[in-house]
Subunit: 349 residues, 2 copies
């Protein structure tokens, strides 16, 4: 099994097919982009049998019917795991055009969205407090994505205590890397913020991947790849299980039960992930950038079963065609019309 | 009676001594400033027997024990109506130093303030939504001062409906002047915003004077005077009574009952204001700037009784010494430690 050290005591655990609720597809609306194929392939091999595609790409975002069509064109070549473009309205507070009246924009978009569906936002600090109030006033369910600071996780914890209908995710990279390691990456938490995230584990509903690995990779000047960060996710979390910082149930809750419930996702029949824990190995250097190359991990994906077929073994895809389905059209969802966004390129480049 | 047109049908009404909950004292902490004397003199002659002093001056603000002491030095020369420096924590969202984590700042200051006392803020749009959520999460009572936009009055209306403990005031100038009249004065509402304010009269707890008249006067290049705007207040509101846009009770509620209750102010025994309505007159040009010079008003202050003494007749102070008291020390209030503020000078000059 490649460069893993053999050791006798290890266990194999079977988990349901996992869900990445924030898959970043750089070329989501770029003509003839293969990013969706690349990402779904890495995802399934890494234990994620379902991905929710973030509406923001590098060159443009899904904000209306026209851009959605571009994304759907790209998805015609298939995906290796199930994927979902829609299902929640995204209010990208950090990418709203400047000089927009945020309260008016948010309220307008709230009111054009079905009441029982979640609203997703990346709002932080005062914007986060603001959108939480607006959601509460308009009786909306809100999901805060990629929480990174102690203030934000605390405000979410307090809001939950007060009965607000709010959930949140934290990018897995934010749990293992800080600005101490990468001072220029403002997307990462400070060590103090990271500690607060771990202290508020009970407040974190979902672990996500998000665009943080891509941003970090880009920031270090390394060659970017849409798949960056995906393969690191489970080994990092499973290694924390061996260190008693997490339980397997913590992982299952945050990568399966909660994502499924919050975003009303399908049951994936005959789909499971067999992981191995307690067998140490060193993360190898490959063409895919990772900040964890050379580090020791104690958990890995051994086998992925998708629709009753074994599709991956030891982190490698078997030679089979893409079996993933576009789940976006399940139920009849309106196209979420997001507020005008600045291209992510501006903030990432 | 000066330049008033005589007419036979008019009425005289007796109101309690009125309260200006936002008296702007430009030289509040400036050495040897007489602004407090000037303002209290104009206030009592204009029907206001009690003023709450805004903590923000032109050259500096009351933010701690040291600046409070400077303000109290200036008040030793007395005031012509009762005045109050304290009684609420002011969170000056629009003057917070930049790059401050607003949520952290607000929360810290919340938590150092007695629970039953109101917190005052000038927050707008997304900051307003934010502070309303924080107040709700921390079970604090909040008063929003100088509301000017339709979004802000709506969010306050919705918050009240949802049971949040929030009150607000609107500067009287905002009800009678718009940016159509003074395009450069961003402190004024647009005509559409002003209409929304009138439409939400039931949401407006208090009418205030605030710093808007001073800012407007300064903006027009006229000679500023700490008293600007005070004498216009009652004539404007009483004229609206003659036009059936307001009732006398609307005024009494918003300049007496609500201010007294929200800010836990003293009963002023033997104090009353006799006003005359329905007798039209033209606002004369005096050394004190007013945007209403030449306009017809149909309401005026006739007599002010303060502590059972007649102290003013027909808008003029009688030659008596200052009888006003500093009410700040009533009860043992801590000094409200506000977050660091930018001097108002920066935004006003
Ligand atoms: Zn084994
Ligand atoms: Zn609504
Ligand atoms: Zn279904
Ligand atoms: Zn819009
Ligand atoms: Zn008369
Ligand atoms: Zn608190
Ligand atoms: Zn008392
Ligand atoms: Zn402070």
């Amino acid at each position: 099994i490649g460069n893993r050290d053999f050791q006798t005591s290890h266990r194999t655990v079977v988990l349901p097919g996992l869900i990445n609720i924030a898959a970043f597809v750089p070329g989501i609306i770029s003509q003839s982009s293969n990013d969706l194929q690349t990402i779904t392939k890495t995802s399934i091999a890494s234990g994620f049998s379902m991905v929710r595609i973030m509406p923001m790409g590098i060159e443009g975002s899904i904000t209306d019917a026209k851009t959605l069509k571009l994304a759907q064109q790209n998805s015609k070549r298939g995906g290796y795991c199930d994927y979902n473009f829609l299902g929640s309205l995204f209010i990208p507070f950090n990418h709203l055009s400047d000089n927009i009246n945020k309260v008016a924009a948010v309220t307008t978009h709230f009111d054009s969205w079905p009441t029982h569906k979640p609203i997703l936002t990346d709002a932080k600090t005062t914007d986060l407090a603001s959108i939480l109030l607006l959601a509460s006033l308009h009786s909306r369910r809100i999901h805060v994505t990629s929480v990174t600071t102690k203030e934000d996780i605390r405000i979410i914890a307090l809001s939950k205590e007060k009965g607000l209908n709010v959930t949140c995710d934290v990018s897995i990279y934010s749990l293992y890397l800080t600005r101490k390691d990468y001072p220029d990456c403002l997307g990462l938490p400070t060590p103090e913020d990271q500690q607060a995230l771990w202290d508020h584990l009970a407040t974190i509903d979902v672990f996500s991947i998000g665009s943080l690995p891509y941003q970090l990779c880009h920031g270090t000047g390394s060659t970017t790849n849409p798949s960056v960060g995906i393969a690191d996710a489970l080994p990092l979390l499973l290694t924390s299980v061996t260190e008693n910082r997490l339980t397997l149930d913590d992982i299952k809750t945050r990568l399966y039960d909660n994502p499924k419930q919050i975003f009303e996702l399908h049951e994936q029949v005959g789909t499971s992930v067999e992981v191995e824990i307690d067998r140490p190995y060193t993360v190898p250097s490959t063409s895919l950038w990772s900040p964890f190359v050379g580090k020791t991990m104690r958990g890995a994906v051994q086998r992925v079963t998708f629709g009753d077929k074994t599709v991956c073994l030891d982190g490698e895809m078997l030679p089979i065609p893409p079996l993933g389905k576009d789940m976006s059209t399940h139920g009849s969802m309106p196209v979420p019309m997001s507020p005008p966004m600045r291209p992510l390129q501006q903030s990432i480049s």
